[in-house]
């Protein structure tokens, strides 16, 4: 690693905000950089004057690159991978850290290939200390196995960080040095034509703003049984969420889905009712501060991540819980 070496983390702007997972990736980048004694740079596709760039979570980075080009206003894999490629050529980081989002999954492998590299994706753990090659842990077989990886050869090491694997740092005050980076892009390089994102249903539900979530899974058996869980949510003042199968069946709208293909949430309390805890779901909620699981199978994987668990028939437990909550609230 040359002296010019650094860790470059790319942030993602979503819903006019720098997403929480981006800050988690930043925290991961710091962990890596601190272990190796390297500086951290941040990059984001944004106008250099974007006020979002003033508030950086965590330790101040060495530099913030604002990658700006009209061809990047709408995300395309070709546009982003080419722009990022140019920045990496320019900044020559030893490590490139990205948040493991759908967008990153779409362009990062393409970007890495341009460098003859392979993305180490969906990393859940980093071990880095001076003088040794860092190892990165990721999950195999849908979470049933962990594997540690090492980067070999020269060239930048690309990695993406799993949501919830690292805790995002708080925003710290201080000024940041923003450097505008203008890539040279040509419209002919971009062959995909993206349309406007749209929601399947008109109603907007923001699971992220709720401090308590009551989430329902396949254990509920039939759509007609949902009111049992609804009542609990109402009693708790909580939002209702669900695992993928419930939404696939149309019993609850897609926007209530928590999981790898739904929302990633980190509420104060997450109550999983009749959810087995398949990895695709766990990924979406394991960042919750307190996880409660109610399931009739004591061996359900959800209990591995739960803080509190009740093993039994949810059709008996949930009504009892609703009554107890009402009583406690007076």
């Amino acid at each position: 690693m040359s002296q010019a070496s650094s860790v470059l983390v790319f942030l993602e702007i979503k819903n006019r905000e720098i997403s929480r997972i981006s800050w988690e990736a930043t925290a991961a980048a710091h962990a890596l950089a601190d272990g190796l004694g390297l500086p951290v740079d941040i990059a984001v596709v944004a106008n250099p004057n974007n006020p979002l760039l003033a508030t950086i979570h965590g330790k101040a980075p060495r530099k913030v690159y604002a990658i700006d080009d009209p061809l990047l206003h709408a995300y395309t894999s070709e546009g982003y991978s080419e722009a990022y490629r140019q920045l990496i050529e320019h900044a020559k980081p030893a490590y490139v850290v990205l948040p493991h989002t759908y967008q990153v999954r779409d362009f990062a492998p393409k970007l890495a290939t341009k460098f003859g590299q392979v993305l180490i994706g969906d990393v859940t753990g980093i071990e880095a200390s001076a003088g040794t090659t860092p190892t990165f842990v990721r999950q195999l077989l849908q979470g049933k196995l962990n594997a540690s990886y090492r980067h070999a050869g020269t060239g930048p090491c690309f990695l993406s960080v799993q949501a919830g694997a690292f805790r995002a740092d708080e925003a710290e005050g201080g000024t940041t040095i923003v450097e505008a980076f203008r890539p040279k892009l040509d419209a002919s390089q971009i062959r995909t034509l993206p349309g406007e994102p749209f929601r399947a249903s008109a109603q907007t539900v923001d699971l992220n703003s709720a401090s308590i979530l009551v989430s329902v899974g396949r254990g509920i058996k039939e759509e007609a049984n949902l009111p049992i869980v609804q009542e609990l949510a109402t009693a708790l003042g909580a939002e209702l969420a669900a695992s993928r199968p419930i939404c696939d069946n149309g019993w609850l709208p897609m926007e209530r889905q928590v999981g790898s293909s739904g929302q990633t949430v980190a509420p104060k309390v997450y109550i999983a009712v009749g959810i087995s805890g398949a990895i695709q779901h766990l990924v979406g909620m394991k960042g919750s501060q307190c996880i409660v699981a109610i399931n009739k199978d004591e061996n359900a994987p959800i209990f591995e991540v739960a803080d509190y668990g009740i093993v039994g028939d949810l059709f008996e437990i949930v009504p009892a819980l609703t009554a107890a909550v009402r009583k406690a609230k007076g």
Partner: protein
């Protein structure tokens, strides 16, 4: 339309997880194999397109001899022919990184000049989710990932892409293109007896990794840049408190915890 579907044979979902002696993978004894889940959806999309617009569906897969079974299944479901990149033993492909595997697949299909190449979103075993995107870059094709629906247009294709949090997006691309397909959107078809019988007569072109590399000197598979050092069973991250007793008792205990320990009520 000429459509190529890259499929992978993976260990069955509830294979018993025992780490093998080299600690680099699971012990494969008594493990059964099946078609990767999102690849099944990719194959289904390809077959639907063929049924709507005519053409040919070719499946390609890399792996040892046992992969032949999954290839036959794909042929039984309606694919027209197959390419099997045969690796000599169980662990041979493990020595390649994702870039290496993608190079093999790309080399095997390059001359086919397909209109569309489909892969599953990610594999159920390694879960990298990259092979398709890397192949697109190697072949110089536009690509899109997490695709739920494909429509043929005059200029190419229009696809429906899944975004996070219940958002979706349409995308238009010219063909030839590569798409990685998300699971769950279409109804899969089951393999029928008639399909299996017909599959017996369909062509499976076998090419070994060595032959492929010597046939296509342009592909240079270098040393892997990402190495899997070892696998281990995950640790339980937190201790779980199981609240017992009757439902009423357990509910009361939980409410107490939520009130006083978690302070959420």
């Amino acid at each position: 339309m000429k459509i190529i579907v890259a499929i992978k044979q993976v260990p069955e979902r509830d294979a018993r997880i025992r780490i093998d002696s080299a600690a680099k993978w699971i012990d494969l004894q008594d493990v059964e194999f099946m078609l990767n889940e999102s690849d099944a959806y990719a194959l289904e999309e390809a077959l639907l397109l063929k049924e709507a617009h005519g053409g040919e569906v070719i499946v390609v897969s890399a792996g040892p001899e046992r992969v032949g079974q999954t290839i036959r299944e794909a042929l039984a479901k309606g694919a027209d022919r197959a390419i099997h990149i045969e690796s000599p033993d169980e662990m041979a492909l493990a020595s390649y990184d994702a870039l290496g595997v993608a190079k093999l697949l790309a080399a095997a299909i390059e001359d086919e000049n397909a209109d569309l190449i489909l892969t599953g979103l990610q594999s159920d075993d390694l879960g990298l989710g990259q092979t398709g995107v890397i192949m697109a870059e190697l072949l110089g094709l536009p690509h899109a990932s997490l695709i739920l629906k494909i429509e043929k247009t005059d200029k190419g294709i229009k696809v429906l892409r899944e975004l996070e949090d219940g958002w979706f997006q349409h995308l238009e691309l010219p063909t030839p293109a590569l798409l990685t397909i998300q699971s769950g959107n279409t109804k899969l078809r089951y393999a029928t007896l008639m399909g299996i019988k017909k599959a017996k007569t369909k062509e499976v072109r076998r090419v070994t990794v060595a032959e492929l590399l010597s046939d296509e000197p342009a592909i240079k598979i270098g040393e892997p840049v990402v190495l899997l050092e070892k696998v281990m069973l995950p640790n339980k991250q937190r201790t779980t408190q199981i609240l017992g007793g009757t439902p009423t008792e357990a509910a009361a205990a939980l409410v107490e915890k939520l009130q006083f320990e978690v302070r959420a009520l």
